[in-house]
């Protein structure tokens, strides 16, 4: 407040002085204009960007000044501006890394990466989809930044991806990051379709649903994205408060650039195929007899030993992929616009599966006055995913289980009249199921966001800006699961005579925030940035699932049935918060930040209690020391950051409900088995990170290293309580986990000439987690019990350790009597991205190596039980070299969990692409034509004995992922791409 009188004095010269306009053109080494480069008056907030032709114009107060011209991927340059020098022709030189990129530093502010004190990762739109078109954003982030463990839950079309940042964030609560798109909180729910009615996967041994739904980030079109910033832990994400413990992924979509309309048309056509074929077991009468006895032998002999290639039948489709893209952008000095349409249609590798998405986006930026501007983003998405029917079951009805339960000599094909035979050896005929059943997700989603900026005043010493943001995320998800009554497992008393399950989820999320940013520069070398604001977020999700059984004829309407059950679940949440932050920058030498967020929420036991999340950070650019003399070192920065963030308890944990209990035709209310906790607060994460960033050889070689300690405290568990209380379980904060990790990145430009440019990025990251507090006895978590391997939460051990029963030679934990066979957490991960451009050719690849990390592979177990494992007759497992693999593994069932806990290391070339840019002016009016070919997951190296080590039967579960039970197999794909710009 004391600044105000000073302001008066400082405004005087500004208002009375002259002004000068700097103009010019910015080009790259190949003399191509660079649009979107930033021109910034040093030590001020005055800035502009180059237009589509690389041209700029910036009016600056006073008679002279310094301007800096910067662009991501290039070394910045500074120029003096005065009467004599105000027209510039600038050629920027490529630099490794992203020093000049601007990244988020507060709720409404950003900072140059070179001054950043956090290891905030960023992925540009080009990195995201520049090599290959991507179905989902989270999937596209694979290997492109450090500190994440990303895993596709299966290969089912339409997504379903778990994204965990910096280790384990929670045990039972949410473990996924918060997604924010252009300021709109983006819902990322996974909603079950109710398949459990038929699969009965939950309930026997594990109560979690295993429907394998997609997660709703899938709705976002990767083609629209300009930039993704990833705040991996609390030290960077504290400003997002009680939703930020899992990290925050901030997505900015493309905006228009000043200039004449620029039209881009892109077309990618491709094909996908099963990533890894396992083959089938070969049979003879002895094997048939041993596996299926006389009954099996009868079938085998009746068919003269004929076998069918069911792996090709079920997973062998070459799915056609199509991605069509049209965007238009442009604008003038006051209005810029961007509009994009994407139509995507992917056929899955299983018949009757696939993914179709249409996305339409309009982004509009409008300057109303010199000081007031606003932008509007609007996005509509319609999608349809046919996901098949896979994963675990207890009824032998999923395609995956049925496939491994059926030997290749059983004929499952329909006769000439289309009648499917019953599977004589299993409860279901997977060809019939595949052809007749439906498991579909339909989404209609609308996102609207708006941002208003008002520069109240601005001078070379002071500026004050108000920003208001609001957003609505509204969608309808319809799930349709139809199991017609003629299916083998539905007819003749086997099932429920057909099932038709219709689910509708209405989600309406809204958020609004307002912030004020005040910049103050008492001297040219010192600047203060003060910001404060408030936030509000509302969530309302309503899911109604109608389950009809005893279907009438071939009808699927839920009323055409003998029995209907309806279930409704609602989630309502209101959050209010505020934040304040102070940044100090001394001469780009020392940059320090202090901030706090206060949050209250209806999700907490006390809805009006404010929970505070502080943060603090400091970065020191040693190269800016006056005494610095090392010319070769362009940057040497040490940085440290601390922050706290929260994570809400699972919805409902604060309530002690009365649940329905029926007697004699009346429905009563009986106290629930779980006691809610009316004093429950969020789980709290405290993260400390420090790092070193270095850049040498004219920024052609950069290094970024970070070490972090992330402590997650007050972890919630549903713990057993004395049952004389009337309850069996209660929610309590009883555990803590420490994550420690290291993240390293090296970027280099080994070669840069006018014709040839080579850019390399090498990344390495590793996390180790340990349970440091556990107020309840150690317990097994998830999966299907100790005989098949399970997670175990135990003080002093990793929360992702995999334990199981073991034979007498193995070292056992004295308390549980179980041996630790492995850990789901990788030993480390590493990725290498290479971008090579030579004349008009471009060649890019992304390799990703995950070393270590174990899976519980029960696909093998089920295959062995039914004698169908492809490696059943090999003998590379038994230490005594006597038993075949199948017999060996079966001999261990009940004796040791060893055979099912398998190393899930992999190396894969995630992306590879070759492009050719046709000579310009080939066709009049066409500014650019690029053709190319690209592939995803084309090269895979792993020893893991199933379709793909990247798998999760339990979806995005916080701990118990990495379980493989006959999933939808993953695919590899290849595309041909053409893009044309006008």
């Amino acid at each position: 407040m004391r600044a105000i009188p000073v302001l008066v004095v400082l405004l005087l010269p500004f208002l009375s002085s002259a002004q000068i306009t700097a103009t010019g053109t910015v080009r790259d080494a190949a003399n191509a204009p660079l649009s979107g480069a930033t021109i910034n008056l040093k030590n001020s907030t005055l800035a502009t960007t180059t237009d589509e032709g690389g041209k700029f114009s910036l009016t600056i107060p006073g008679k002279a000044g310094m301007i800096e011209i910067s662009f991501i991927g290039y070394s910045p340059q500074t120029f003096e501006v005065d009467d004599a020098h105000h027209n510039f022709s600038v050629t920027l030189v490529a630099a490794a890394g992203k020093l000049e990129e601007v990244v988020i530093s507060g709720f409404a502010t950003s900072i140059k990466r070179s001054n950043l004190a956090n290891a905030i990762a960023s992925v540009s739109g080009r990195e995201l989809i520049g090599t290959i078109t991507q179905p989902t954003v989270d999937g596209a982030l694979y290997g492109k930044f450090t500190g994440a463990n990303i895993s596709a839950n299966s290969g089912a079309p339409g997504g379903g991806i778990s994204l965990k940042l910096r280790g384990i964030t929670s045990i039972v609560a949410n473990s996924q990051p918060l997604f924010i798109v252009d300021g709109v909180y983006f819902d990322n729910s996974s909603i079950n379709a109710g398949l459990n009615l038929v699969s009965k996967a939950a309930g026997q041994g594990n109560n979690n649903f295993q429907d394998n739904p997609s997660n709703r980030v899938a709705d976002l079109d990767p083609e629209d994205i300009d930039r993704v910033e990833i705040l991996k832990g609390a030290s960077a994400a504290a400003i997002y408060g009680s939703r930020a413990a899992g990290g925050v992924v901030i997505i900015t979509t493309k905006r228009g650039i000043r200039g004449k309309p620029r039209i881009e048309i892109g077309e990618s056509i491709g094909v996908q195929a099963q990533l890894r074929k396992l083959g089938q077991r070969s049979w003879d009468t002895a094997k048939v007899n041993s596996a299926f006895g006389a009954a099996g032998l009868g079938i085998y002999n009746a068919n003269n030993g004929k076998t069918y290639n069911y792996e090709d039948e079920l997973y062998g489709r070459k799915g056609l992929l199509n991605n069509t893209r049209l965007s238009v952008s442009g604008g003038n000095d006051v209005t810029t616009y961007y509009a994009g349409v994407t139509y995507r249609n992917d056929d899955g590798i299983v018949e009757n599966t696939g993914y179709r998405k249409t996305s339409f986006r309009v982004n509009l930026d409008q300057k109303i006055t010199k000081t007031l501007d606003f932008s509007i983003t609007a996005n509509y998405v319609e999608s349809k995913a046919d996901r098949g029917y896979f994963n675990n079951d207890n009824t032998s009805t999923t395609l995956g289980v049925s496939y491994v339960a059926t030997p290749s000599w059983v004929n499952l094909y329909p006769d000439a009249n289309g009648n499917y035979p019953n599977n004589p050896l299993a409860p279901s005929n997977f060809i019939q199921t595949r052809d007749l059943m439906t498991n579909r997700e339909n989404v209609n989603r609308t996102l609207l966001g708006t941002i208003i900026n008002w520069k109240l005043f601005s001078s070379d010493r002071h500026s004050l800006r108000l920003t208001g943001r609001g957003g609505i995320d509204y969608y309808t998800l319809s799930t349709t699961a139809i199991f017609p009554k003629e299916l083998q497992f539905e007819k003749d008393g086997a099932g429920t005579n057909g099932a038709s399950i219709f689910g509708t989820t209405l989600t309406r999320n809204s958020n609004i925030n307002a912030s004020a940013v005040y910049d103050f520069r008492p001297t040219p070398n010192l600047s203060f940035r003060t910001q404060a604001g408030m936030t509000a977020e509302n969530t309302d999700q309503n899911t109604v699932v109608s389950t009809a059984t005893q279907l009438i004829g071939t009808q699927t309407n839920v009323n055409q049935s003998g029995s209907i059950q309806v279930n409704q679940v609602r989630t309502i949440q209101k959050d209010r918060g505020f934040f304040a932050q102070e940044e100090v920058n001394f001469n780009d030498l020392v940059i320090a930040t202090l901030g706090v967020r206060g949050d209250k929420s209806s999700r907490n036991g006390d809805a009006n209690k404010l929970y505070y999340y502080p943060k603090a950070s400091v970065a020191v650019n040693l190269q800016n020391l006056a005494s610095w003399s090392l010319e070769q070192v362009n940057q040497l920065k040490v940085r440290a950051a601390y922050g706290e963030a929260g994570n809400f308890a699972p919805f409902g944990a604060i309530y002690t409900p009365l649940v329905p209990a029926i007697i004699n035709g009346n429905t009563g209310s009986l106290i629930d088995l779980t006691r809610g906790n009316e004093t429950l607060g969020p789980e709290r994460q405290k993260e400390f990170e420090f790092g070193l960033d270095m850049s040498v050889l004219k920024n052609r070689l950069t290094f970024e290293g970070t070490y972090y300690i992330k402590k997650v405290e007050d972890l919630l568990l549903n713990v057993q309580v004395p049952t004389s209380s009337g309850f069996s379980l209660a929610w309590k904060n009883v555990a803590a986990i420490d994550n420690k990790g290291i993240e390293l990145g090296v970027s280099a430009i080994p070669v840069t000439t006018r014709d040839l440019r080579w850019n390399l990025e090498l990344r390495f990251w590793k996390n180790t987690a340990k349970v440091t507090r556990l107020d309840v006895p150690s317990f097994n978590l998830g999966v299907f019990g100790a005989s098949l391997g399970t997670y175990r939460i135990q003080k002093g051990q990793s929360p992702t350790q995999l334990v199981g029963i073991a034979d007498s030679q193995d070292v056992k934990d004295p308390e549980s009597g179980l041996h630790t066979f492995g850990n789901a957490e990788p030993d480390f991960q590493s990725s290498l991205r290479s971008v090579l451009t030579w004349k008009n050719f471009g060649f890019t690849f992304l390799m990703h190596w995950k070393k270590g990390g174990d899976n519980i592979n029960l696909t093998t177990l089920l295959s062995d039980i039914f004698g169908t494992s492809p490696d059943f007759d090999k003998t590379d497992l038994d230490p005594g070299k006597k038993l075949t693999n199948g017999n060996y593994r079966l001999s261990q069932l009940g004796a040791s969990a060893r055979p099912w806990i398998q190393d899930a290391s992999y190396f894969r070339v995630r992306e590879i692409g070759l492009t050719y840019r046709l000579p310009p002016d080939l066709i009049k009016g066409v500014s650019r034509i690029v053709v190319g070919v690209s592939g995803r997951n084309l090269i895979n190296v792993f020893k893991y004995r199933s379709y793909d080590p990247e798998v999760s039967n339990f979806g995005t579960n916080a701990i118990s992922s990495n379980v493989d039970v006959t999933p939808f197999p993953s695919a590899k794909s290849i595309y041909f791409n053409v893009s044309v710009a006008f």
Binding site: L11, L456, M534, F578, L658, I662, G668, Q720, S725
Partner: protein, 438 residues
């Protein structure tokens, strides 16, 4: 100039003021959108919500009855529970070899937890009745609370029957501060006191409950007769013969009445409802209950209760060194009701009380009512107390077969050593262990 500055000054204050306003504004507390909340119902329940609580209790009273009856029935050597999926019914419960009762497994924890869950519901009902703003008379309010206390006492008695010497917690209204485990005698006395206290508001109270119950009667004064029947049972457990005598006289005891008159748990095939868990079809294999053979061999010739409560199997059922030719056939359909207490038990309580009080004539009369109903001739044995008690215990064995009494009866007369052991190393347990998480 000046204008601009003032303007700026005000604007600069704006966000600070806004934050202060914002943080002071309240977030609406959102009630559970998916279920009624225990808290809100306790504070101000509507009549229909009160009815829901009663229905919830009466539904919950049936939860894990199978674990309860299998526990006391197998240990009381009335029947065997065969299960292919769980060997502990024939090992732990019968004390096979070194097997003991586990303090942390289903047969111990499930019935314990389910009974206390209903107790919790009774406490919520009591609070709801105390605080409801619905229009009910004071007599109705009192009657309703007395109903809840009666059910609560009955549930605690079932917990006590298994915990016995361990004693039980009676005061469990606050989950944060659970009352102590009372001694064996204190536990039973607390149950008796609770029944007596409830009866003060039931007896001679002509009001109807502010809800309907399926358990006996909707009129307080009538429901008192069920309360007194429970009180009589508790009194003989406490060997308080005078109290038992007076309680009987106020109960629905009728020496000439229908033996099946009483209060029952109801079952139905309606969606979401429960089936009688003690029912298995005849000649089931795998999961089944078969009669302990001595029930057949010890029976007096012509006892019709044998034929009506057992069913000869087409093939002998073997498991774990045990065998039986008879299915447990007390409940002959999956919706057969299971009694809480019925007139046949009251007549036998009457006989026991009269024998204990030296009234041989009335004791014999009652015994003979039971014998006659079973197709047996009048009792002709000695009439000393021990002989009469032996005869009454024997009649209770056959009349109340499978209803959870044999083990408790033999225990209270210190005759557990007379229960048959099927395998040389078997043991007869006196009580279940206290659940581990207590």
């Amino acid at each position: 100039m000046k204008k601009i500055i003032n303007y700026s000054k005000n604007i600069f204050l704006l966000p600070i003021v806004a934050i202060l306003m914002w943080t002071s504004c309240k977030v609406d507390v959102i009630d559970d959108p998916n279920n009624p909340g225990a808290g809100t119902i306790s504070e101000n329940a509507s009549l229909s919500e009160i009815q829901n609580l009663v229905d919830g209790m009466e539904s919950g009273m049936r939860d894990n009855l199978n674990s309860y009856f299998d526990g006391v029935g197998v240990i009381g050597r009335e029947f065997y529970r065969y299960s292919t999926s769980d060997p502990r019914f024939t090992s732990d419960l019968l004390g096979k070899g070194n097997a003991t009762l586990d303090s942390n497994t289903f047969y111990t924890t499930n019935p314990f937890a389910s009974r206390y869950r209903v107790v919790k519901n009774t406490n919520i009902l009591i609070k709801a009745l105390q605080n409801t703003k619905a229009t009910i008379s004071e007599a109705e309010r009192k009657a309703g609370i007395a109903y809840a206390l009666t059910i609560q006492a009955y549930q605690l008695l079932m917990v006590f029957n298994q915990q016995y010497g361990n004693g039980i917690r009676v005061d469990v209204s606050d989950p944060e501060r659970l009352g102590p485990f009372l001694s064996q005698d204190e536990s039973l006395k607390a149950i008796q006191d609770s029944l007596n206290k409830a009866d003060l508001d039931l007896n001679d109270n002509a009001a109807r409950f502010p809800f309907t119950t399926s358990l006996y009667s909707n009129v307080a004064d009538d429901f008192s007769k069920l309360n007194r029947a429970f009180a009589a049972r508790v009194a003989i457990y406490r060997k308080d013969w005078a109290q038992a005598n007076s309680a009987l006289s106020e109960s629905f005891f009728d020496i000439n009445g229908d033996l099946t008159t009483g209060s029952y748990h109801l079952f139905s095939t309606a969606g979401g409802d429960q089936l009688n868990p003690q029912y298995f079809p005849q000649n089931s294999s795998g999961e089944t209950r078969v009669v302990q053979p001595s029930f057949i061999t010890d029976a007096q010739p012509g006892d019709t209760r044998v034929a009506s409560k057992t069913s000869k199997r087409t093939a002998t059922a073997f498991q774990d060194g045990l065998q039986s030719d008879y299915d447990f056939w007390v409940y002959q359909s999956n919706v057969a009701p299971i009694p809480l207490i019925r007139n046949e038990e009251l007549i036998l309580i009457y006989a026991e009380v009269k024998a204990q009080l030296g009234d041989v004539t009335n004791a014999k009369t009652a015994i003979n009512v039971i014998r006659k109903a079973a197709g047996l001739p009048d009792y002709a044995g000695p009439t000393d107390l021990n002989s009469l008690i032996d005869e009454i215990l024997d009649q209770r064995r056959y009349s109340l077969f499978g209803e959870g009494h044999r083990w408790i009866d033999m225990r209270r007369y210190d005759k557990l050593d007379q229960l048959p052991k099927d395998r040389p190393d078997d043991n007869v347990w006196t009580q279940f262990p206290r659940p581990a998480n207590e």
